[in-house]
């Protein structure tokens, strides 16, 4: 139960930051998402994101910053194992499950649903 609460709190804080960026700045939503991924990469690079994942679990790993962290971790791991080429292969390898799931489920949902105006 405590884990769920922590995940809710941390995930919520990350989403509030996104909402504030939409409401208070002129940054487009697409750019906000890119900022989140890049921020996750940078925090991950310096090992600052992993503590958040350990504390808030899914609350930190599910938002886009978590995706950035995974990319960074994958690159570091691959460089240690395979050398320089890991810069190019590590990120996508580590994030393969996430990317494939996004494409697959995105495709299924695109077939299964029809866009409508938000009520």
């Amino acid at each position: 139960m405590a884990d769920i609460l922590k995940a809710f709190l941390l995930g919520g804080i990350i989403c509030v930051i996104g909402q504030l960026l939409i409401d208070l700045t002129k940054i487009t939503p697409a750019r906000i998402m890119v900022v989140f991924v890049v921020l996750g990469v940078i925090l991950g690079l310096f090992g600052l994101y992993q503590p958040l994942v350990e504390w808030g679990s899914a609350g930190a790993s599910v938002p886009l910053t978590g995706f950035g962290n995974t990319l960074a971790k994958g690159v570091i791991k691959e460089i240690n194992e395979k050398g320089f080429l890991g810069v190019f292969t590590g990120g996508v390898k580590a994030a393969a499950a996430g990317i494939t799931a996004a494409v697959t489920f995105g495709y299924i949902m695109a077939i299964a649903s029809k866009p409508k105006v938000k009520k």
Binding site: I22, D23, P29, P115, K116, V117
Partner: protein, 335 residues
């Protein structure tokens, strides 16, 4: 023959008559304060079609049929269709009238399309090039989102200050003879660009263009704002409207008491959660073709100036860092 007056106003000799007007709108517009004036409200954003673009064409086509029916004219009487919308290649209008079997002139003036079509239609009738013409414009929230922002499928969050593109269309039948309000003169507008770059603040991009056209119109005719019962702008929204009134006062013209804006008339801004108002060429087209025509029939209006305002925004040029040019065309209508 028409007579040119002052810098850019055209006074018509054979004043074209607005025989009828019709409008069909979407659900949100049908929940708004002008609902009872519209001919039909389409609850389904697809209007029975497969895509939003096809739905917009369907609404435009049905509006044309409705206006024709109300005018008592047959399709064969119409010499030319002047219509446009917000999409690339004027998709909605081009596909709406592909079976019309009537000469078609596609227009693009962004949200200024309705007064643009009225201006050109009047010139054609006055010059003898047409006896009867259709002037129409449409917009659709969902197709406009795809064109200018993000497709709905993408599920992007909207910024709270963005104007709401009206789903709907308006059409009027202009004739050389018959009963109805007359178009007495028109002032086509110049493109004015004062460097506004924010695509979520189109009102600010259009207000200077509206100010320029209204000022030129009054100067060309030697009139003041008090000579009109109503000065109706297209879709400046609440923010753009107050900006226009400030700009007009700088030009020494106080028109605050005479001014209304289609974008703020079509929605209940607070109740419907549409912060700045409605936009899109269907907005001014629908309000003008039904609500305003009704006010003329009731005798509540004798002379108005209708200025549809367009933000000639190109998503490509905006991404390249360019500002948004604005344009506004004015037509003067008398009972």
């Amino acid at each position: 023959m028409a007579k040119r007056l002052g810098s850019q106003t055209v006074v018509f000799d054979k004043q074209p008559i607005i025989l009828s007007g019709a409008a069909i709108v979407g659900k949100k517009e049908g929940d708004g304060p002008l609902a009872r004036y519209f001919d039909d409200v389409v609850d389904d954003e697809y209007a029975g079609e497969k895509t939003f673009e096809a739905a917009e064409s369907r609404i435009l086509k049905d509006t044309f049929s409705k206006a024709l029916e109300k005018s008592g004219k047959a399709a064969a009487d119409i010499n030319v269709i002047l219509a446009g919308d917000l999409l690339n290649q004027s998709t909605a209008a081009s596909y709406a009238f592909r079976d019309a079997n009537t000469p078609f002139i596609g227009l693009f003036g962004a949200c200024s399309t309705m007064s643009e079509s009225l201006t050109i239609g009047s010139m054609l009738i006055d010059g003898g090039s047409a006896d009867y013409a259709v002037c129409a414009a449409s917009s659709h929230f969902c197709s406009a989102e795809r064109q200018f922002r993000f497709p709905l499928e993408y599920g992007s969050q909207r910024t709270p200050t963005a104007q709401w593109t009206v789903t709907g269309s308006g059409a009027v039948i202009l004739g050389k003879d018959g009963q109805g309000p007359r178009i007495v003169c028109a002032t086509p507008g110049k493109i004015i660009d004062q460097g506004i770059k924010d695509a979520n603040n189109m009102g600010a991009a259009m207000a200077p263009a509206a100010c320029d056209t209204i000022t030129s119109h009054l100067k060309d005719l030697g009139r003041s704002a008090d000579d009109y019962d109503l000065i109706l702008t297209g879709d400046l929204g609440s923010f753009g409207s107050s900006m226009l009134n400030d700009l007009m006062i700088k030009n020494g013209i106080d028109m605050k008491n005479k001014h209304k804006d289609c974008g703020t008339l079509i929605f209940d801004l607070e109740k419907q959660g549409v912060n700045c108002g409605g936009s899109g060429c269907g907005c001014s087209a629908a309000v003008f073709s039904t609500y305003i025509m009704n006010q003329f029939r009731q005798g509540a209006l004798k002379r108005i100036l209708f200025i549809a305002t367009g933000a000639l925004m190109s998503p490509t040029r905006s991404q390249q860092g360019e500002s948004i040019p604005g344009v506004a065309h004015a037509v003067c209508i008398e009972a």
